[in-house]
Protein backbone atom coordinates (compact mmCIF):
# COMPACT_ATOMS: atom_id res chain seq x y z
CA UNK A 1 0.00 0.00 0.00
CA UNK A 2 1.46 3.31 -1.03
CA UNK A 3 1.90 6.24 1.33
CA UNK A 4 -0.81 8.24 -0.47
CA UNK A 5 -3.30 5.38 -0.11
CA UNK A 6 -2.62 5.14 3.65
CA UNK A 7 -3.22 8.86 4.01
CA UNK A 8 -6.47 8.56 2.09
CA UNK A 9 -7.79 5.73 4.28
CA UNK A 10 -6.75 7.54 7.43
CA UNK A 11 -8.45 10.70 6.21
CA UNK A 12 -11.65 8.81 5.53
CA UNK A 13 -11.67 7.13 8.94
CA UNK A 14 -10.94 10.36 10.79
CA UNK A 15 -13.66 12.08 8.79
CA UNK A 16 -16.20 9.34 9.61
CA UNK A 17 -15.26 9.31 13.30
CA UNK A 18 -15.52 13.08 13.51
CA UNK A 19 -19.00 13.02 12.01
CA UNK A 20 -20.13 10.17 14.27
CA UNK A 21 -18.99 11.94 17.42
CA UNK A 22 -20.22 15.42 16.67
CA UNK A 23 -23.86 14.62 15.88
CA UNK A 24 -26.23 13.48 18.62
CA UNK A 25 -29.72 11.95 18.52
CA UNK A 26 -32.81 14.11 18.59
CA UNK A 27 -35.79 12.63 20.39
CA UNK A 28 -37.89 15.37 21.97
CA UNK A 29 -40.48 17.65 20.47
CA UNK A 30 -41.13 19.97 23.37
CA UNK A 31 -41.00 22.98 21.10
CA UNK A 32 -44.24 21.82 19.50
CA UNK A 33 -46.13 21.89 22.77
CA UNK A 34 -47.22 24.85 24.84
CA UNK A 35 -45.10 27.62 23.49
CA UNK A 36 -47.31 30.56 24.23
CA UNK A 37 -48.80 31.60 27.54
CA UNK A 38 -51.05 34.39 28.57
CA UNK A 39 -53.79 34.13 25.97
CA UNK A 40 -57.12 35.23 27.40
CA UNK A 41 -59.77 32.53 27.80
CA UNK A 42 -63.37 33.52 28.51
CA UNK A 43 -66.13 30.98 28.84
CA UNK A 44 -69.66 31.68 29.99
CA UNK A 45 -72.94 29.82 29.94
CA UNK A 46 -76.16 31.74 30.54
CA UNK A 47 -79.23 29.54 30.92
CA UNK A 48 -82.96 30.04 31.32
CA UNK A 49 -82.90 28.20 34.65
CA UNK A 50 -82.84 29.85 38.06
CA UNK A 51 -79.36 28.74 38.97
CA UNK A 52 -75.95 30.22 39.58
CA UNK A 53 -74.79 31.63 36.21
CA UNK A 54 -71.03 31.34 35.86
CA UNK A 55 -68.36 32.96 33.68
CA UNK A 56 -64.72 31.89 33.84
CA UNK A 57 -61.92 34.26 32.87
CA UNK A 58 -58.39 32.87 32.73
CA UNK A 59 -55.13 32.99 30.87
CA UNK A 60 -53.38 30.02 29.33
CA UNK A 61 -50.28 28.90 31.17
CA UNK A 62 -47.34 26.87 29.97
CA UNK A 63 -48.07 24.27 32.61
CA UNK A 64 -51.20 23.72 30.57
CA UNK A 65 -53.58 21.96 32.88
CA UNK A 66 -54.34 24.75 35.30
CA UNK A 67 -54.95 28.03 33.50
CA UNK A 68 -54.35 31.07 35.68
CA UNK A 69 -57.63 32.58 36.80
CA UNK A 70 -58.08 36.31 36.19
CA UNK A 71 -59.97 37.71 39.21
CA UNK A 72 -59.85 41.45 38.44
CA UNK A 73 -62.12 41.68 35.39
CA UNK A 74 -65.46 43.43 35.25
CA UNK A 75 -67.95 40.97 33.80
CA UNK A 76 -71.42 41.99 32.66
CA UNK A 77 -74.08 40.26 30.67
CA UNK A 78 -75.94 42.51 28.25
CA UNK A 79 -79.46 41.96 27.01
CA UNK A 80 -81.22 43.25 23.90
CA UNK A 81 -83.83 44.60 26.33
CA UNK A 82 -81.15 47.03 27.53
CA UNK A 83 -80.45 45.31 30.86
CA UNK A 84 -76.89 45.10 32.17
CA UNK A 85 -76.35 42.39 34.78
CA UNK A 86 -72.98 42.57 36.57
CA UNK A 87 -71.27 39.40 37.79
CA UNK A 88 -69.49 39.06 41.12
CA UNK A 89 -65.87 37.93 41.20
CA UNK A 90 -65.14 34.92 43.39
CA UNK A 91 -61.41 35.83 43.29
CA UNK A 92 -60.43 32.64 41.48
CA UNK A 93 -61.20 33.71 37.95
CA UNK A 94 -64.77 32.55 38.41
CA UNK A 95 -67.58 35.12 38.24
CA UNK A 96 -71.14 34.41 39.31
CA UNK A 97 -74.55 35.92 38.79
CA UNK A 98 -77.31 34.80 41.14
CA UNK A 99 -81.02 35.42 40.81
CA UNK A 100 -81.10 36.07 37.10
CA UNK A 101 -81.82 33.83 34.15
CA UNK A 102 -82.10 34.11 30.39
CA UNK A 103 -85.53 34.92 29.04
CA UNK A 104 -86.83 33.15 25.97
CA UNK A 105 -86.80 35.29 22.85
CA UNK A 106 -84.17 37.73 24.10
CA UNK A 107 -80.55 37.86 23.01
CA UNK A 108 -77.58 38.20 25.34
CA UNK A 109 -73.94 39.15 25.02
CA UNK A 110 -71.05 39.14 27.46
CA UNK A 111 -68.88 42.16 28.18
CA UNK A 112 -65.56 41.72 29.97
CA UNK A 113 -63.46 44.75 30.87
CA UNK A 114 -59.90 43.87 31.79
CA UNK A 115 -56.87 46.14 32.10
CA UNK A 116 -58.66 48.90 30.21
CA UNK A 117 -59.54 46.62 27.30
CA UNK A 118 -63.11 45.78 26.42
CA UNK A 119 -63.99 42.29 25.24
CA UNK A 120 -67.43 41.69 23.83
CA UNK A 121 -69.19 38.59 22.59
CA UNK A 122 -71.68 38.41 19.77
CA UNK A 123 -75.33 38.40 20.81
CA UNK A 124 -76.85 34.95 21.17
CA UNK A 125 -80.59 34.38 21.18
CA UNK A 126 -82.11 31.97 23.68
CA UNK A 127 -83.42 28.99 21.69
CA UNK A 128 -87.10 28.18 21.98
CA UNK A 129 -87.08 24.43 21.33
CA UNK A 130 -85.85 21.59 23.49
CA UNK A 131 -86.23 17.82 23.48
CA UNK A 132 -87.44 15.13 25.85
CA UNK A 133 -84.75 12.92 27.39
CA UNK A 134 -85.52 9.49 28.80
CA UNK A 135 -82.48 8.13 30.59
CA UNK A 136 -81.37 4.54 31.02
CA UNK A 137 -78.17 2.74 31.96
CA UNK A 138 -76.40 -0.57 31.59
CA UNK A 139 -73.47 -2.27 33.26
CA UNK A 140 -71.39 -3.94 30.57
CA UNK A 141 -68.18 -5.90 30.74
CA UNK A 142 -66.00 -4.40 28.01
CA UNK A 143 -62.72 -2.66 27.20
CA UNK A 144 -62.60 0.84 28.62
CA UNK A 145 -59.48 2.26 30.23
CA UNK A 146 -57.12 -0.69 29.91
CA UNK A 147 -56.51 -3.65 27.63
CA UNK A 148 -58.52 -5.87 29.97
CA UNK A 149 -62.32 -5.89 29.99
CA UNK A 150 -63.93 -4.27 33.00
CA UNK A 151 -67.41 -3.40 34.14
CA UNK A 152 -68.51 -0.09 32.69
CA UNK A 153 -71.53 1.99 33.63
CA UNK A 154 -73.06 3.33 30.42
CA UNK A 155 -75.64 6.07 30.36
CA UNK A 156 -78.06 6.38 27.46
CA UNK A 157 -80.69 8.89 26.52
CA UNK A 158 -83.66 8.19 24.34
CA UNK A 159 -84.20 11.66 23.00
CA UNK A 160 -87.44 12.75 21.39
CA UNK A 161 -87.30 15.90 19.29
CA UNK A 162 -90.30 18.23 19.05
CA UNK A 163 -92.63 17.75 16.09
CA UNK A 164 -91.43 20.75 14.20
CA UNK A 165 -89.11 21.31 11.28
CA UNK A 166 -87.37 24.19 13.00
CA UNK A 167 -83.67 23.49 13.57
CA UNK A 168 -82.63 22.36 17.01
CA UNK A 169 -79.07 21.93 18.28
CA UNK A 170 -78.44 20.07 21.50
CA UNK A 171 -75.55 19.54 23.86
CA UNK A 172 -75.55 17.53 27.07
CA UNK A 173 -73.42 17.79 30.21
CA UNK A 174 -73.32 14.82 32.58
CA UNK A 175 -72.54 14.97 36.28
CA UNK A 176 -72.46 12.18 38.82
CA UNK A 177 -73.22 12.53 42.52
CA UNK A 178 -72.82 9.65 44.90
CA UNK A 179 -73.17 9.14 48.59
CA UNK A 180 -70.16 8.08 50.60
CA UNK A 181 -70.69 7.29 54.30
CA UNK A 182 -67.65 7.71 56.52
CA UNK A 183 -66.60 5.05 59.02
CA UNK A 184 -67.89 5.22 62.58
CA UNK A 185 -64.82 5.96 64.63
CA UNK A 186 -64.71 5.04 68.33
CA UNK A 187 -62.60 8.00 69.32
CA UNK A 188 -65.39 10.42 68.46
CA UNK A 189 -67.61 9.51 71.44
CA UNK A 190 -69.43 6.71 73.30
CA UNK A 191 -71.31 5.45 71.44
CA UNK A 192 -69.64 7.01 68.38
CA UNK A 193 -71.97 9.39 66.59
CA UNK A 194 -72.69 8.61 62.99
CA UNK A 195 -70.64 11.00 60.87
CA UNK A 196 -72.55 12.85 58.15
CA UNK A 197 -72.10 11.20 54.75
CA UNK A 198 -70.34 12.88 51.88
CA UNK A 199 -72.01 13.76 48.60
CA UNK A 200 -69.30 13.72 45.98
CA UNK A 201 -69.85 15.17 42.51
CA UNK A 202 -67.84 15.04 39.33
CA UNK A 203 -68.29 15.32 35.60
CA UNK A 204 -68.50 11.97 33.84
CA UNK A 205 -66.02 11.74 30.96
CA UNK A 206 -65.18 15.45 30.91
CA UNK A 207 -63.66 15.24 27.46
CA UNK A 208 -66.71 13.65 25.92
CA UNK A 209 -68.80 16.23 24.07
CA UNK A 210 -72.35 15.07 23.39
CA UNK A 211 -73.83 16.96 20.47
CA UNK A 212 -76.89 16.46 18.33
CA UNK A 213 -77.85 18.34 15.19
CA UNK A 214 -81.61 18.10 14.81
CA UNK A 215 -81.76 20.27 11.71
CA UNK A 216 -82.54 18.71 8.37
CA UNK A 217 -83.48 15.35 9.81
CA UNK A 218 -86.86 13.67 9.84
CA UNK A 219 -85.84 11.36 12.67
CA UNK A 220 -87.63 12.42 15.83
CA UNK A 221 -86.31 9.72 18.21
CA UNK A 222 -82.66 8.95 18.79
CA UNK A 223 -80.86 6.83 21.33
CA UNK A 224 -77.58 8.40 22.36
CA UNK A 225 -74.76 7.13 24.53
CA UNK A 226 -74.05 10.08 26.82
CA UNK A 227 -71.28 8.80 29.02
CA UNK A 228 -69.28 5.89 30.38
CA UNK A 229 -67.64 5.33 33.71
CA UNK A 230 -65.80 2.41 35.26
CA UNK A 231 -67.66 0.68 38.06
CA UNK A 232 -66.03 0.94 41.47
CA UNK A 233 -67.14 1.25 45.08
CA UNK A 234 -68.71 4.64 44.30
CA UNK A 235 -71.73 2.52 43.33
CA UNK A 236 -71.96 1.01 46.82
CA UNK A 237 -74.63 3.53 47.77
CA UNK A 238 -77.10 5.55 45.67
CA UNK A 239 -75.38 6.94 42.62
CA UNK A 240 -77.16 9.76 40.80
CA UNK A 241 -76.49 11.06 37.34
CA UNK A 242 -77.66 14.55 36.43
CA UNK A 243 -78.06 15.17 32.72
CA UNK A 244 -78.39 18.75 31.59
CA UNK A 245 -79.71 19.13 28.10
CA UNK A 246 -78.67 22.46 26.60
CA UNK A 247 -80.54 23.68 23.57
CA UNK A 248 -77.99 25.96 21.94
CA UNK A 249 -77.62 28.15 18.87
CA UNK A 250 -76.19 26.93 15.58
CA UNK A 251 -73.06 29.03 16.13
CA UNK A 252 -72.50 27.48 19.55
CA UNK A 253 -73.08 24.02 18.09
CA UNK A 254 -70.45 24.66 15.41
CA UNK A 255 -68.02 25.89 18.05
CA UNK A 256 -68.45 22.73 20.13
CA UNK A 257 -68.18 20.60 17.04
CA UNK A 258 -64.73 22.10 16.39
CA UNK A 259 -63.74 21.59 20.02
CA UNK A 260 -64.88 17.99 19.68
CA UNK A 261 -62.63 17.54 16.65
CA UNK A 262 -59.50 18.95 18.28
CA UNK A 263 -59.94 16.89 21.44
CA UNK A 264 -60.84 13.69 19.58
CA UNK A 265 -57.67 13.40 17.53
CA UNK A 266 -55.78 10.31 18.63
CA UNK A 267 -52.79 10.44 16.33
CA UNK A 268 -54.34 8.13 13.76
CA UNK A 269 -54.62 8.11 10.00
CA UNK A 270 -58.21 9.32 10.30
CA UNK A 271 -57.37 12.42 12.32
CA UNK A 272 -58.73 15.69 11.07
CA UNK A 273 -55.94 18.26 10.70
CA UNK A 274 -55.85 20.45 13.83
CA UNK A 275 -56.56 24.17 13.68
CA UNK A 276 -57.14 27.02 16.10
CA UNK A 277 -60.73 27.21 17.38
CA UNK A 278 -62.09 30.71 17.34
CA UNK A 279 -65.04 31.65 19.50
CA UNK A 280 -67.52 34.51 19.51
CA UNK A 281 -65.62 36.91 21.78
CA UNK A 282 -63.37 39.66 20.45
CA UNK A 283 -61.41 42.69 21.59
CA UNK A 284 -63.44 45.77 20.68
CA UNK A 285 -60.32 47.85 19.98
CA UNK A 286 -58.01 45.21 18.54
CA UNK A 287 -59.54 42.70 16.16
CA UNK A 288 -56.15 40.97 15.79
CA UNK A 289 -56.14 39.73 19.39
CA UNK A 290 -57.29 36.14 19.64
CA UNK A 291 -59.66 35.44 22.49
CA UNK A 292 -60.23 31.81 23.31
CA UNK A 293 -63.54 30.52 24.59
CA UNK A 294 -67.20 31.22 23.99
CA UNK A 295 -70.25 32.82 25.53
CA UNK A 296 -73.34 30.74 24.97
CA UNK A 297 -76.96 30.96 26.02
CA UNK A 298 -79.03 27.85 26.39
CA UNK A 299 -82.50 26.64 27.10
CA UNK A 300 -81.90 23.99 29.71
CA UNK A 301 -83.70 20.86 30.76
CA UNK A 302 -82.41 18.70 33.62
CA UNK A 303 -83.08 14.98 33.96
CA UNK A 304 -81.80 12.57 36.60
CA UNK A 305 -81.47 8.86 37.08
CA UNK A 306 -79.98 6.84 39.89
CA UNK A 307 -78.65 3.39 40.50
CA UNK A 308 -77.78 1.37 43.60
CA UNK A 309 -75.51 -1.56 44.31
CA UNK A 310 -78.47 -3.87 43.58
CA UNK A 311 -77.99 -3.03 39.89
CA UNK A 312 -74.26 -3.73 39.89
CA UNK A 313 -73.62 -7.21 38.50
CA UNK A 314 -70.90 -8.07 41.03
CA UNK A 315 -70.30 -7.75 44.76
CA UNK A 316 -68.91 -4.42 45.96
CA UNK A 317 -66.80 -4.38 49.09
CA UNK A 318 -67.37 -1.50 51.51
CA UNK A 319 -63.92 -0.42 52.78
CA UNK A 320 -65.51 1.75 55.49
CA UNK A 321 -67.68 -0.92 57.09
CA UNK A 322 -67.49 -0.64 60.90
CA UNK A 323 -65.77 -3.58 62.51
CA UNK A 324 -65.37 -3.57 66.30
CA UNK A 325 -61.94 -5.19 66.09
CA UNK A 326 -60.55 -2.64 63.63
CA UNK A 327 -58.56 0.22 65.19
CA UNK A 328 -59.64 3.67 64.05
CA UNK A 329 -56.37 4.42 62.29
CA UNK A 330 -56.61 1.22 60.26
CA UNK A 331 -59.42 2.59 58.12
CA UNK A 332 -58.26 4.11 54.86
CA UNK A 333 -58.20 7.89 54.69
CA UNK A 334 -61.23 7.91 52.39
CA UNK A 335 -63.28 6.45 55.28
CA UNK A 336 -62.34 9.26 57.63
CA UNK A 337 -62.51 12.34 55.46
CA UNK A 338 -64.73 13.50 52.61
CA UNK A 339 -61.86 15.52 51.14
CA UNK A 340 -59.63 12.45 51.07
CA UNK A 341 -62.30 10.50 49.24
CA UNK A 342 -63.14 13.32 46.85
CA UNK A 343 -59.51 13.82 45.73
CA UNK A 344 -60.11 17.24 44.26
CA UNK A 345 -63.68 16.62 43.15
CA UNK A 346 -66.42 18.78 44.60
CA UNK A 347 -68.11 17.48 47.74
CA UNK A 348 -70.54 18.51 50.44
CA UNK A 349 -72.17 16.97 53.51
CA UNK A 350 -75.47 18.61 52.69
CA UNK A 351 -77.77 16.44 50.62
CA UNK A 352 -78.90 18.06 47.36
CA UNK A 353 -82.57 19.02 47.33
CA UNK A 354 -83.25 16.44 44.64
CA UNK A 355 -81.60 13.61 46.59
CA UNK A 356 -84.64 11.35 46.75
CA UNK A 357 -84.75 7.65 45.95
CA UNK A 358 -86.82 4.58 46.77
Amino acid sequence: MSKNQKISIRSVLVFALFLALTVSCVDRLDFLGETKEGQLVIYGLFTDVDERQVVNVSRTALSGLAPRGVPNAKVTVLSTSGARLPYTSLKTGEYELVGFRAIEGLSYALEVVLDGKVYLSKYEKVPVLDAEDKLSFTFDNELFRTDKPEYVFKLFSETKLPDTRDPIYLRWTIEETYLWPLAWLRGTGIPPPQPPPCFISDVIEPNRINLFDGSGTSTRNSTLLLGRRSVDNSFQYPFFVTVKQLSITREAYEYWEKIKIVISNQGSLFDIPPAPVSGNIFNVNDSEETILGYFEVAKTKTTRIYTTNADVPFYLLDPCQFLPSTPDDSYPAECRSCAARAQGRSWTIKAPVWWKYD
Partner: protein, 264 residues
Protein backbone atom coordinates in the same frame (compact mmCIF):
# COMPACT_ATOMS: atom_id res chain seq x y z
CA UNK B 1 -48.36 26.44 -17.37
CA UNK B 2 -51.58 24.70 -16.36
CA UNK B 3 -51.88 21.69 -14.13
CA UNK B 4 -55.08 19.69 -13.84
CA UNK B 5 -54.03 17.29 -11.11
CA UNK B 6 -53.13 18.54 -7.66
CA UNK B 7 -52.14 16.99 -4.35
CA UNK B 8 -53.66 17.72 -0.97
CA UNK B 9 -51.25 16.84 1.80
CA UNK B 10 -52.35 16.15 5.33
CA UNK B 11 -49.10 15.93 7.20
CA UNK B 12 -50.48 16.04 10.72
CA UNK B 13 -50.92 12.31 11.36
CA UNK B 14 -48.33 9.64 12.09
CA UNK B 15 -48.66 8.53 8.48
CA UNK B 16 -48.96 11.64 6.33
CA UNK B 17 -51.26 11.19 3.36
CA UNK B 18 -51.38 12.80 -0.04
CA UNK B 19 -54.66 12.93 -1.89
CA UNK B 20 -54.75 13.50 -5.63
CA UNK B 21 -57.51 15.72 -6.89
CA UNK B 22 -58.47 16.33 -10.50
CA UNK B 23 -59.71 19.72 -11.57
CA UNK B 24 -63.49 19.97 -11.61
CA UNK B 25 -66.12 22.66 -12.03
CA UNK B 26 -65.36 23.69 -8.46
CA UNK B 27 -61.61 23.16 -8.40
CA UNK B 28 -59.96 25.27 -11.04
CA UNK B 29 -56.72 24.05 -12.63
CA UNK B 30 -53.56 25.37 -11.10
CA UNK B 31 -51.86 27.96 -13.29
CA UNK B 32 -48.27 28.99 -12.80
CA UNK B 33 -45.74 31.36 -14.26
CA UNK B 34 -42.14 30.22 -14.05
CA UNK B 35 -38.82 31.91 -14.55
CA UNK B 36 -35.33 30.57 -13.97
CA UNK B 37 -31.82 31.74 -14.70
CA UNK B 38 -28.57 29.84 -14.35
CA UNK B 39 -24.86 30.25 -14.82
CA UNK B 40 -22.66 27.17 -15.45
CA UNK B 41 -18.89 27.11 -15.69
CA UNK B 42 -16.20 24.43 -15.74
CA UNK B 43 -12.59 24.84 -14.63
CA UNK B 44 -9.28 23.01 -15.03
CA UNK B 45 -10.22 21.05 -18.11
CA UNK B 46 -13.59 20.04 -16.70
CA UNK B 47 -12.10 18.70 -13.47
CA UNK B 48 -14.36 21.15 -11.62
CA UNK B 49 -17.92 22.09 -12.56
CA UNK B 50 -19.84 24.90 -10.90
CA UNK B 51 -23.34 26.20 -11.33
CA UNK B 52 -25.52 28.90 -9.86
CA UNK B 53 -29.26 28.95 -10.54
CA UNK B 54 -32.26 30.88 -9.41
CA UNK B 55 -35.97 30.31 -9.93
CA UNK B 56 -39.25 32.08 -9.29
CA UNK B 57 -42.76 30.73 -9.66
CA UNK B 58 -46.10 32.30 -8.93
CA UNK B 59 -49.21 30.14 -8.90
CA UNK B 60 -52.93 30.76 -9.08
CA UNK B 61 -55.65 28.37 -7.91
CA UNK B 62 -53.34 26.41 -5.65
CA UNK B 63 -55.45 24.29 -3.29
CA UNK B 64 -55.35 23.94 0.47
CA UNK B 65 -57.71 22.19 2.80
CA UNK B 66 -59.96 24.29 5.02
CA UNK B 67 -59.68 24.30 8.80
CA UNK B 68 -61.27 21.18 10.29
CA UNK B 69 -61.49 19.55 6.87
CA UNK B 70 -62.38 15.88 6.81
CA UNK B 71 -60.18 14.65 3.99
CA UNK B 72 -60.14 10.91 4.43
CA UNK B 73 -62.39 9.04 1.97
CA UNK B 74 -64.54 12.09 1.51
CA UNK B 75 -66.55 11.83 -1.74
CA UNK B 76 -67.19 15.58 -1.74
CA UNK B 77 -63.65 16.72 -1.24
CA UNK B 78 -64.23 20.03 -2.98
CA UNK B 79 -66.37 21.18 -0.03
CA UNK B 80 -63.33 20.86 2.23
CA UNK B 81 -60.93 22.77 0.00
CA UNK B 82 -60.06 26.38 -0.57
CA UNK B 83 -58.00 27.83 -3.39
CA UNK B 84 -55.35 30.47 -3.19
CA UNK B 85 -52.18 31.79 -4.67
CA UNK B 86 -48.74 30.28 -4.31
CA UNK B 87 -45.24 31.61 -4.45
CA UNK B 88 -42.00 29.66 -4.74
CA UNK B 89 -38.50 31.00 -5.21
CA UNK B 90 -34.96 30.00 -4.50
CA UNK B 91 -31.36 29.63 -5.54
CA UNK B 92 -29.05 26.66 -5.91
CA UNK B 93 -25.27 26.60 -5.78
CA UNK B 94 -23.34 23.53 -6.83
CA UNK B 95 -19.65 22.65 -6.98
CA UNK B 96 -18.66 19.33 -8.49
CA UNK B 97 -15.29 17.61 -8.81
CA UNK B 98 -15.31 15.19 -11.73
CA UNK B 99 -11.88 13.55 -11.73
CA UNK B 100 -8.96 12.65 -9.48
CA UNK B 101 -8.66 10.56 -6.34
CA UNK B 102 -11.47 12.43 -4.69
CA UNK B 103 -14.67 13.16 -6.60
CA UNK B 104 -18.12 14.32 -5.58
CA UNK B 105 -20.17 17.42 -5.21
CA UNK B 106 -21.43 19.96 -2.75
CA UNK B 107 -24.82 21.54 -3.35
CA UNK B 108 -26.70 24.13 -1.35
CA UNK B 109 -30.25 25.21 -2.05
CA UNK B 110 -32.19 28.01 -0.50
CA UNK B 111 -35.85 27.90 -1.45
CA UNK B 112 -39.21 28.92 -0.12
CA UNK B 113 -42.70 27.69 -0.93
CA UNK B 114 -45.55 29.84 0.34
CA UNK B 115 -49.30 30.01 -0.07
CA UNK B 116 -52.16 32.27 0.90
CA UNK B 117 -55.82 31.48 0.56
CA UNK B 118 -58.17 33.84 -1.18
CA UNK B 119 -61.85 33.70 -0.41
CA UNK B 120 -64.66 36.20 -0.19
CA UNK B 121 -65.65 34.56 3.11
CA UNK B 122 -63.14 35.64 5.79
CA UNK B 123 -64.25 32.92 8.22
CA UNK B 124 -62.92 30.15 5.98
CA UNK B 125 -59.57 31.77 5.24
CA UNK B 126 -56.61 29.78 6.49
CA UNK B 127 -54.31 31.79 8.78
CA UNK B 128 -56.51 34.87 8.29
CA UNK B 129 -55.56 34.98 4.62
CA UNK B 130 -51.88 35.66 5.37
CA UNK B 131 -48.97 34.02 3.56
CA UNK B 132 -47.78 30.83 5.20
CA UNK B 133 -45.35 28.02 4.42
CA UNK B 134 -46.59 25.01 2.48
CA UNK B 135 -45.80 21.46 3.54
CA UNK B 136 -42.93 21.45 1.06
CA UNK B 137 -41.18 24.52 2.40
CA UNK B 138 -37.66 23.55 3.47
CA UNK B 139 -35.56 26.71 3.16
CA UNK B 140 -32.10 25.16 3.51
CA UNK B 141 -30.89 22.02 1.84
CA UNK B 142 -27.24 20.94 1.77
CA UNK B 143 -25.95 17.81 0.08
CA UNK B 144 -22.36 16.61 0.12
CA UNK B 145 -21.31 13.49 -1.78
CA UNK B 146 -17.67 12.35 -1.76
CA UNK B 147 -15.94 9.38 -3.34
CA UNK B 148 -12.41 8.56 -2.15
CA UNK B 149 -10.69 6.20 -4.56
CA UNK B 150 -8.10 4.27 -2.57
CA UNK B 151 -7.00 2.00 -5.35
CA UNK B 152 -8.48 0.70 -8.56
CA UNK B 153 -11.82 -0.88 -7.67
CA UNK B 154 -11.75 0.27 -4.03
CA UNK B 155 -13.59 3.38 -2.95
CA UNK B 156 -14.90 4.98 0.20
CA UNK B 157 -18.11 6.92 -0.30
CA UNK B 158 -19.84 9.33 2.01
CA UNK B 159 -23.14 11.06 1.63
CA UNK B 160 -24.12 13.93 3.93
CA UNK B 161 -27.61 15.45 3.81
CA UNK B 162 -29.06 18.35 5.74
CA UNK B 163 -32.39 20.03 5.24
CA UNK B 164 -34.64 22.30 7.27
CA UNK B 165 -37.54 20.56 8.96
CA UNK B 166 -40.82 20.84 7.13
CA UNK B 167 -43.57 23.05 8.53
CA UNK B 168 -46.15 21.63 10.87
CA UNK B 169 -49.07 22.88 12.92
CA UNK B 170 -48.13 22.95 16.59
CA UNK B 171 -49.67 23.39 19.97
CA UNK B 172 -49.60 26.77 21.71
CA UNK B 173 -51.20 25.82 25.00
CA UNK B 174 -53.97 23.85 26.66
CA UNK B 175 -56.95 25.52 28.26
CA UNK B 176 -60.19 24.54 29.93
CA UNK B 177 -63.70 25.30 28.69
CA UNK B 178 -66.33 24.12 31.14
CA UNK B 179 -64.88 20.77 32.18
CA UNK B 180 -63.18 20.12 28.85
CA UNK B 181 -59.41 20.38 28.46
CA UNK B 182 -58.89 21.87 25.01
CA UNK B 183 -55.62 21.99 23.05
CA UNK B 184 -54.97 25.40 21.55
CA UNK B 185 -53.31 24.95 18.18
CA UNK B 186 -51.35 27.67 16.48
CA UNK B 187 -51.74 28.80 12.91
CA UNK B 188 -51.27 26.26 10.17
CA UNK B 189 -47.64 25.33 9.56
CA UNK B 190 -46.45 27.86 12.13
CA UNK B 191 -43.79 25.49 13.50
CA UNK B 192 -41.23 23.16 12.00
CA UNK B 193 -40.22 19.62 12.82
CA UNK B 194 -36.52 19.18 13.71
CA UNK B 195 -34.00 19.61 10.92
CA UNK B 196 -33.10 16.53 8.91
CA UNK B 197 -29.49 15.36 9.03
CA UNK B 198 -28.07 12.08 7.78
CA UNK B 199 -24.66 10.66 6.95
CA UNK B 200 -24.23 7.48 4.93
CA UNK B 201 -20.97 5.68 4.49
CA UNK B 202 -19.93 2.84 2.18
CA UNK B 203 -16.83 0.94 1.20
CA UNK B 204 -16.70 -0.79 -2.17
CA UNK B 205 -13.97 -3.27 -3.03
CA UNK B 206 -13.25 -6.08 -5.45
CA UNK B 207 -14.55 -9.56 -4.63
CA UNK B 208 -12.79 -12.76 -3.72
CA UNK B 209 -12.51 -14.35 -7.15
CA UNK B 210 -10.14 -12.61 -9.46
CA UNK B 211 -11.61 -14.12 -12.63
CA UNK B 212 -15.11 -12.88 -11.82
CA UNK B 213 -16.34 -9.35 -11.98
CA UNK B 214 -17.50 -9.42 -8.37
CA UNK B 215 -17.79 -6.60 -5.84
CA UNK B 216 -18.25 -6.35 -2.10
CA UNK B 217 -20.02 -3.37 -0.66
CA UNK B 218 -20.25 -2.59 3.02
CA UNK B 219 -22.37 0.40 3.91
CA UNK B 220 -23.89 2.12 6.91
CA UNK B 221 -27.05 4.14 6.38
CA UNK B 222 -27.53 6.90 8.93
CA UNK B 223 -24.06 6.50 10.41
CA UNK B 224 -24.78 8.79 13.37
CA UNK B 225 -28.03 7.03 14.25
CA UNK B 226 -29.88 10.31 14.30
CA UNK B 227 -33.62 9.94 14.80
CA UNK B 228 -34.87 12.17 12.04
CA UNK B 229 -38.55 12.96 12.34
CA UNK B 230 -40.57 11.36 9.57
CA UNK B 231 -43.81 12.73 10.92
CA UNK B 232 -45.21 14.51 13.93
CA UNK B 233 -48.53 13.84 15.59
CA UNK B 234 -50.31 14.56 18.87
CA UNK B 235 -51.67 12.10 21.38
CA UNK B 236 -53.50 12.42 24.65
CA UNK B 237 -51.58 11.65 27.79
CA UNK B 238 -52.08 11.90 31.50
CA UNK B 239 -54.93 11.46 33.97
CA UNK B 240 -56.57 14.65 32.76
CA UNK B 241 -55.74 13.96 29.15
CA UNK B 242 -53.81 16.63 27.33
CA UNK B 243 -52.17 16.54 23.95
CA UNK B 244 -48.49 15.82 23.74
CA UNK B 245 -46.43 16.02 20.52
CA UNK B 246 -44.59 12.93 19.30
CA UNK B 247 -42.33 12.23 16.37
CA UNK B 248 -41.91 9.05 14.37
CA UNK B 249 -38.43 8.28 13.08
CA UNK B 250 -37.92 5.78 10.29
CA UNK B 251 -34.58 3.99 10.58
CA UNK B 252 -33.69 6.08 13.57
CA UNK B 253 -30.45 4.20 14.16
CA UNK B 254 -27.36 3.29 12.18
CA UNK B 255 -28.34 0.67 9.60
CA UNK B 256 -25.47 -1.46 8.27
CA UNK B 257 -25.68 -3.59 5.14
CA UNK B 258 -23.42 -5.94 3.28
CA UNK B 259 -23.79 -6.62 -0.46
CA UNK B 260 -21.96 -9.09 -2.64
CA UNK B 261 -22.46 -8.65 -6.39
CA UNK B 262 -21.37 -10.92 -9.18
CA UNK B 263 -21.73 -10.00 -12.84
CA UNK B 264 -21.89 -12.90 -15.32
Amino acid sequence: MNQYLQTISNATGPTPIDLWQLSTNYILPQRSHNASLGYFRNFKEDEWSTSFEGFYRSTDNQIEYRNFADLFLNPHLETELIQGEGLAFGTELMIQKNSGGITGWLAYTFSRSLIRTTSEFPEIQVNQGNWFATNFDKPHNISLVTNFRVKKGRTFNTNVNFSSGRPVTGLLSNYVIGAVSVPNFGNRNEFRIPNYFRIDFSYLTNGFVRKWDDKINFSIYNLTGRRNAYSVFFQREGRVPRLVPYQISILGSAFPSFTYTVKF
